[in-house]
């Protein structure tokens, strides 16, 4: 005997069952299409990022090269004899610190190594001259003074000045070693380390160069971009640095970069 109600229920179940494969196919196709769409969007974003980076970095390298002063950063050490009656032995004189160093002692690194780096086209591919690193041992210094100070030194009876020997050997040896390791494996972490070190040492040009190299290897390291733009600011290219930061923030939404940008704009970071 036919049971209409039961048969209708069975028919509904059958219809649902018969539509299941279609639903599954439609869902699968939707998921595949969605995945392709997301993948394409990500690829487009990467391509855009690369394009921006190319725009940003390539001309900048040239700019930096042109900015590089003809004279090496590391200036000759001038030993200023102390007044005869005083035991001032040697005074190292640095051109770049002349303007602000009255009675102030400025410690600066031995940049013999960097001299070599600057003359090279691709400093990170060159081997370090071992003699240079030996020269890094600076005996000095000691005191950075202006011409005026030198004159004053003769007039005022400058007492003393003990002979201070600061050895930078370790730091520079470290950098040299890391650079040589970097040359072997091209690891961006190493180039970033070198950039940081140079930045800490105040060699913003080299810091800039190594940050740039790091960015070329891996464009997603926040710190590298920050060192890069900080170095630019330090090199007097504030506008350029801001422009790069803005573009980088657009791409990465980096908070650190935003904070730095705010600081540059507000003048907090000079």
């Amino acid at each position: 005997m036919l049971n209409l109600h039961e048969l209708e229920q069975r028919w509904i179940r059958y219809k649902i069952k018969s539509y299941l494969p279609y639903i599954a196919i439609i869902l699968s196709i939707s998921i595949i299409l969605l995945s392709i769409f997301i993948f394409l969007q990500e690829s487009t974003a990467t391509v855009n990022k690369n394009t921006i980076l190319e725009k940003l970095t390539i001309p900048e390298v040239k700019a930096i090269v042109s900015v590089t002063p003809k004279k090496p950063l590391v200036k000759k050490k001038t030993v200023v004899p102390a007044t005869s009656n005083k035991e001032l032995t040697k005074i190292s004189k640095r051109e770049r610190s002349l303007h602000n160093s009255t009675n102030k002692l400025t410690l600066s690194p031995s940049l013999g190594f960097m001299k070599k780096m600057q003359t090279d086209q691709q400093p990170y591919y060159k081997t370090e001259n071992s003699n240079e690193s030996n020269d890094i041992q600076v005996e000095v210094p000691v005191v950075t003074v202006t011409h005026k100070d030198i004159q004053n030194l003769q007039h005022q009876e400058l007492k003393v000045v003990k002979k201070i020997t600061i050895t930078h050997k370790n730091t520079h040896n470290d950098i040299a070693e890391i650079i040589s390791r970097f040359k072997k494996n091209n690891n961006p972490a190493l180039s970033l380390f070198v950039a940081k070190k140079y930045y800490e040492l105040g060699d913003y040009r080299q810091a800039y160069n190594y940050a740039l190299i790091t960015n070329q290897i891996n464009r997603d390291i926040d710190v590298s971009w920050i060192i890069f733009t900080k170095s630019l600011v330090k090199l007097g290219k504030k506008e350029k640095a801001m422009k790069i930061l803005k573009q980088y923030i657009n791409q990465s939404h980096s908070n650190q970069a935003q904070i730095l940008l705010d600081e540059i704009i507000s003048g907090k970071f000079k």
Partner: protein
Amino acid sequence: MSSIFVNSKDVFLDIVNAKDYVQLDRVSSIYQSLKDSIKKPLKMILLYGKPGTGKSMFLNKIHTDLSPTQSIYLYKTPILDESEFYKVLAQDIFATRYNGELNFTQFMKIVEKKEFKETPVVLLDEAQLYSEVLMEKIRLLSDTRTVKFVITLHKTEKEDIIAKEHFQTRIWETIELENASSSELKIYIQKKLMKANCFDSANMFTNKSVNRIHNITNGNYRDTNKLLYTLFDLYALYEKSSRLSNIRTDHVPNKLIEMAAIHTGLINA
């Protein structure tokens, strides 16, 4: 008073009756060729096809049509006992009643004694149920040309009946029956209904509904009969429960066809 649905339902009762035979173009040509083959001096004619393709109906039809003019005997169900088989043939064809066991040798003696002006035709339905031994005896009997056999067999995938040894060498005519195409099925359904004066029901079968039926039954006549019987049963039930307004009656909706198919087991729901 019975409704048109009840009348239509009865049209599709699964019974083999020569009166219900529906003339379709392809079927008619096959039927004609079978009739022609019977007239030829053949030893055996094999009629084969899948179950529900109309083999039994064919034998019935040919028996009904030829029996007034020719000596023709139809055995719808197989006689599996060998002695019984010979005894039935001896009595029907040779008018020899035999008591006790009748073996092949004794039966052949009866056959040799009798001579006919026209070779009698024996129609054996469901011959796949006969044993190999009995089939071999039937072959030997047909070799005497005293009796002509028309046998029907199910065509199965497991064994190719045509390849069977006793058919390979002796069958001179093989006729295969196939399932109906969609258009043939429509004609079949409508002709059947119109024969029973169910014109309104016949008009309910549009191409779309017949295609759905064909999808479900693959054009198999037996399955179609089964499906349509249940379909009209459903209509009758809807009518009885005053829910006929809930369903379409201008054409057969797929829902009802599928419900009928679920009930008959043609759709596994």
